[in-house]
């Protein structure tokens, strides 16, 4: 302990004192010994020699004595670090490039990985979440159809593969009696639901088996956020009620704060059984899906097989129109991530490639540098540096660089992640959970260390093989360049060019897709249209007449608002997406097989809708006030349907059957054909759509479209006032301009394109640096050869041709491989490309040209240097 303190004191203070003192002491003792010999009568020079021989090597003794004052391991580490830092500072350009390369690679990686981790990888925050599955019905190729009450009860009762199972469905209610009428979201669930998601009430209780029965009492469990925000966290709520759509529900409990199930925030939970009846037919679909937890030893396929057997048995016992329905299921985590999955994997793949480029770059730079340092290493070996010591020093230096790069990368990743969350489009599931957490830190630290070691190993492999004589003999030549090293370095640069080309091509494809998606017509003119979305509560609007009366008055009122030009209403406004598709058939056409019955969107349009939206009429007419209840049932179809069924004749006059040939359903006569509308947003492909007139199929949920003369937002206050004057208990679901709503459907594509473009730019920069580094070294290693060639009469242009050929070979190899790789990778992009083919030759050529240009740019400086070699001076030195 005392020893340790003394050393520490010395380490902190008297750095110089001890070595000097030791040197003096050794000198004086040598003299004392010489004196002794002299005293014994030995001649002076002999005495000195003898003393020196007996004494030993003074330098070594001094060193060993000095070592007693150090912390041996720590000292070597410090020394390595000092050497490392000195190495970094000695060639700041090199170090800067390496550190920057690593920073960019690691920063981009940790940011994107954080997102991928939170959205795709991290288990959902439920007990045994990896065994939670989402279940629906399937029919032919259609998967995820809602589960009927009868089927669900049978699944739950007879399955052998699920530990627990709960039906759920979302619903919307108007809450009244607590100030302003409030539009609220509910989820109707079985009591098992709470067990499945592991939620225990903070107040009161959750549902029991009693509430699972069909036709149970009206009760509600509150979501924590709703309880705090809307009811002030009042603990007295348990004795209270909620008035939903005019009916009173008793509050029985409050759930703890937790993540939103399926990323859908809800305000409260209602018992599933309340809305169902055991007498409803087994073919009556609502919108219920089922959440189940697999038994621990059961695979998803086995479980679905189990449910299918139950479906088959039900079909035998209780035959009906849906006897060929089967079960469908996905793991909940896959279902939750949904369609963000391909984009995130694409981005993850892109940043992974960036890191590969970064590593290749760094490895190349380090390799080139260690080759130019082989003289230094040879000299160190000559004066006695152990091989292990050199290896350790090289590794320390590289790990130091990698650590600095890693730390900066992490910092960059932190900022990049915050920027990413800021610009990310809405609707990316679990984005709120994203953060640079411990796992991300570990991932990044792992990357840093692996990079450091991989990069460190490269020069160590050569450092061990440095041949002292040849390295020293090389004299003026500043580097050795064996064939093996050369081909390794070439391979690295070729790989970089290859990867860069893949990234450039991919981002080019996405960019073209984005432009294509932006430029396609949505099928209507969204400019200056304000959309007002409403849902009439069923309790106050119980019959179709009441619904129709309300919307008639609303549309009449809207027409009188100053600045309103045209007004119409629709059930499913673009870009709301899938408001429900259903089977249909065309009378007179060949009857399709049961699993081939086509699906179409079914929409409802009020008079004036097509005109207001400027949806072009292709044939026949649109709806008029004559299309009312009692009149013949009519429909307007979109061009996709018309072209599919009546390519050579007019669709008008033909009859469509709702539900297809195998299900009961009404028939409608086609009275008109309108242009396709991008119902699911920009950048989607057209889908069959059938419109019914509002008067023949009144819907509680309608969206009024108001085309204004000027800025549509300026109409908003008047629209709100009008709606409140018609029904002051009616909440407004949404009141937004159509133009911004349509544009926002491209947010996700824009986001992915922007990021991929950034990554492609990064890759281009890095590979330009890579080409530069390699060729620069190539020239350095050949300065002497260039000088000799010049001396023997080669012209500058000859040198340029010679060096240029070497560079071109590299670039050409990379581009050829890159074109092949990009071609192969284009398959993976299929789901993200829009409006062009993923195998777009023009795009591929453009990407190849850009990569060639950038690589040539990287090669230009070293090539110029090659032609400027001063032959006379170089040869003098050699």
């Amino acid at each position: 302990m005392r020893e340790w303190w003394a050393k520490l004191r010395y380490a902190l203070t008297g750095r110089r004192a001890i070595p000097d003192d030791l040197a003096a002491e050794i000198q004086s003792n040598l003299e004392l010994e010489t004196d002794d010999h002299l005293a014994r009568g030995i001649p002076a020079d002999q005495a000195r020699n003898q003393a020196r021989r007996h004494f030993g090597n003074p330098t070594l003794i001094k060193e060993r004595a000095q070592e007693a004052w150090t912390f041996p391991r720590f000292a070597t580490l410090l020394q390595d670090l000092r050497y490392g830092l000195r190495g970094i500072l000695k060639s700041p350009g090199y170090s800067l490039v390496v550190i920057l390369t690593l920073t960019l690679g690691i920063g981009a990686n940790s940011a994107i990985f954080s997102v991928v981790d939170a959205v795709l990888l991290k288990p959902l925050p439920y007990p045994d979440a990896e065994r939670l599955v989402w279940l629906g019905e399937s029919h032919g190729k259609v998967e995820g159809i809602s589960v009927t009450w009868g089927n669900y009860r049978a699944w739950k009762k007879y399955n052998h593969t699920f530990g627990d199972m709960a039906g759920y469905q979302w619903n919307q209610f108007t809450l009244t009696g607590r100030g302003e009428p409030l539009f609220t979201r509910a989820i109707q669930v079985d009591n098992a639901f709470f067990r499945l998601v592991g939620a225990k009430p903070v107040l009161g209780r959750v549902f029991t088996a009693e509430e699972d029965r069909a036709g149970t009492q009206r009760t509600a469990v509150l979501d924590y956020k709703f309880w705090i925000n809307k009811l002030g966290g009042d603990r007295g709520v348990l004795s209270g009620t909620l008035d939903l759509n005019g009916l009173s529900y008793r509050i029985i409990g409050v759930l703890p704060p937790g993540p939103d199930f399926h990323n859908m925030a809800v305000d409260f939970y209602l018992p599933m059984g309340l809305f169902r009846s055991d007498s409803e037919p087994r073919t009556q679909h609502g919108s219920m899906r089922v959440l189940g937890r697999l038994r621990s030893d059961v695979t998803l396929a086995t479980a679905l097989g189990d449910l299918d057997q139950i479906m088959q048995r039900l079909a035998r016992e209780d035959p009906g129109t849906e006897d060929d329905h089967r079960s469908a299921g996905k793991f909940l985590i896959d279902e939750t991530a949904g369609d963000v999955r391909p984009i995130l994997w694409l981005l993850m793949g892109a940043v992974g490639l960036i890191l590969l480029i970064a590593c290749a770059n760094v490895a190349n730079l380090v390799l080139a540098r260690s080759a130019t340092r082989s003289r230094e290493i040879a000299i160190r070996t000559a004066i006695g540096a152990g091989r292990m010591r050199l290896v350790r020093q090289v590794l320390t230096e590289n790990l130091l660089v990698a650590s600095i790069g890693g730390a900066l990368g992490l910092l960059l990743g932190y900022w990049a992640l915050r920027a990413l969350i800021l610009i990310a489009p809405k609707g990316i599931p679990r984005l709120a959970e994203v953060g640079l957490d411990l796992r991300v830190l570990l991932f990044t630290a792992g990357l840093t260390i692996v990079t450091g070691v991989v990069v460190g190993l490269a020069p160590v492999l050569t450092a061990g093989r440095v041949d002292l004589t040849s390295a020293l003999n090389a004299g003026g030549r500043s580097g050795t360049d064996t064939k093996r090293e050369r081909s390794f370095r070439n391979a690295l640069v070729i790989a970089e060019i290859t990867i860069t080309l893949v990234l450039a091509f991919s981002s080019g494809l996405l960019l073209r897709s984005l432009i294509a998606a932006q430029n396609t017509s949505p099928g209507f003119v969204p400019a200056r249209v304000l959309s007002l979305e409403l849902v009439l509560p069923g309790a106050s609007y119980q019959n179709p007449q009441a619904i129709q009366n309300f919307y008639d008055r609303l549309l009449d009122g809207l027409r009188t608002i100053p600045g309103a030009d045209e007004v119409g209403a629709v059930y499913c406004p673009p870009p709301k997406g899938d408001c429900g598709d259903w089977w249909y058939s065309v009378l007179g056409a060949p009857v399709p097989a049961k699993e081939d019955v086509p699906l179409s969107l079914f929409n409802v349009a009020g008079p004036g809708y097509f005109e207001t939206m400027k949806i072009p009429l292709r044939e026949g007419r649109t709806f008029t006030s004559a299309d009312r209840t009692g009149a013949p049932l009519v429909a307007v179809v979109n061009e996709t349907i018309a072209r599919q069924w009546f390519p050579k004749e007019s669709a008008v006059g033909h009859v469509i059957k709702y539900g297809g040939p195998y299900m009961p359903g009404a028939t409608f006569e086609i009275v008109g054909v309108v242009g396709d509308v991008k119902q699911e947003g920009m950048g989607t492909v057209p889908y069959p759509e059938i419109y019914r007139p509002f008067a023949q199929d009144p819907q509680q949920a309608m969206t009024a479209m108001i085309r204004s003369v000027g800025d549509p937002n300026s109409l908003a206050p008047a629209v709100r006032r009008l709606a409140a004057s018609l029904d002051h208990n009616l909440p407004i679901q949404r009141l937004v301009p159509e133009e911004s709503r349509m544009a926002s459907t491209l947010d996700r594509r824009r986001f992915a394109t922007l990021l991929l473009a950034i990554f492609a730019g990064l890759a281009l920069t890095l590979s330009a640096v890579g080409v530069y580094g390699l060729l620069n070294y190539w020239v350095t290693a050949r300065e002497e050869e260039i000088a000799i060639r010049l001396a023997l009469g080669a012209g500058r242009s000859g040198i340029l041709t010679w060096a240029g050929t070497a560079a071109s070979k590299l670039i050409a190899a990379g581009v050829v491989l890159g074109v092949g790789a990009a071609w192969a990778a284009s398959n993976l992009l299929d789901s993200l490309v829009f409006g062009i083919s993923p195998r777009d030759i023009t795009m591929l050529s453009a990407a190849a040209l850009v990569v060639i240009a950038i690589a040539t740019f990287g090669a230009a400086l070293p090539l110029a240097r090659a032609t400027r070699v001063d032959a006379a001076r170089k040869l003098q030195r050699a």
């Binding site: 020893e3 030791l22 002491e25 004392l32 002794d36 003794i61």
Partner: protein, 120 residues
């Protein structure tokens, strides 16, 4: 000055004994490194050869433990030399080490002594 020519015949110092020998040599009074080496060789009947490569680091360790102190002085033949001197702590350590060493030697002797010669 060497009296034993074949170095391999000399005894190797056991781990940790050099420190004790240094302390012992300083019991007689302050001395310099050369003097300490001479003392040990002489008093061991030239069985121990003190290697300077071990002596100097050992002196540093003793200094660090504050068992000895050092001071530059002028030697009898008027040379400046660094003299080491036992501290009170060093004296205590020497006593402890000596008694420990005696026990060690006695125990070794007892074990190694031929059968029947040792006490029953």
């Amino acid at each position: 000055m060497s009296t034993v020519d074949n170095l391999s015949e000399r005894l190797e110092l056991l781990q940790g004994t050099l420190e004790v020998l240094i302390l012992r040599s300083l019991q007689m009074g302050p001395n310099h490194a050369y003097g300490i080496g001479q003392f040990i060789e002489h008093h061991s009947g030239s069985e121990f050869l003190v290697d300077n490569g071990s002596l100097y680091p050992a002196l540093q360790r003793l200094l660090q433990r504050a068992w000895i102190t050092a001071q530059w002085k002028t030697s009898p033949n008027s040379r400046r030399a660094k003299y080491y001197r036992l501290t009170a702590l060093g004296r205590k350590q020497l006593l402890a080490a000596t008694s420990k060493w005696e026990r060690f030697v006695e125990a070794m002797g007892r074990v190694l002594a031929p059968k029947g010669v040792g006490r029953a």
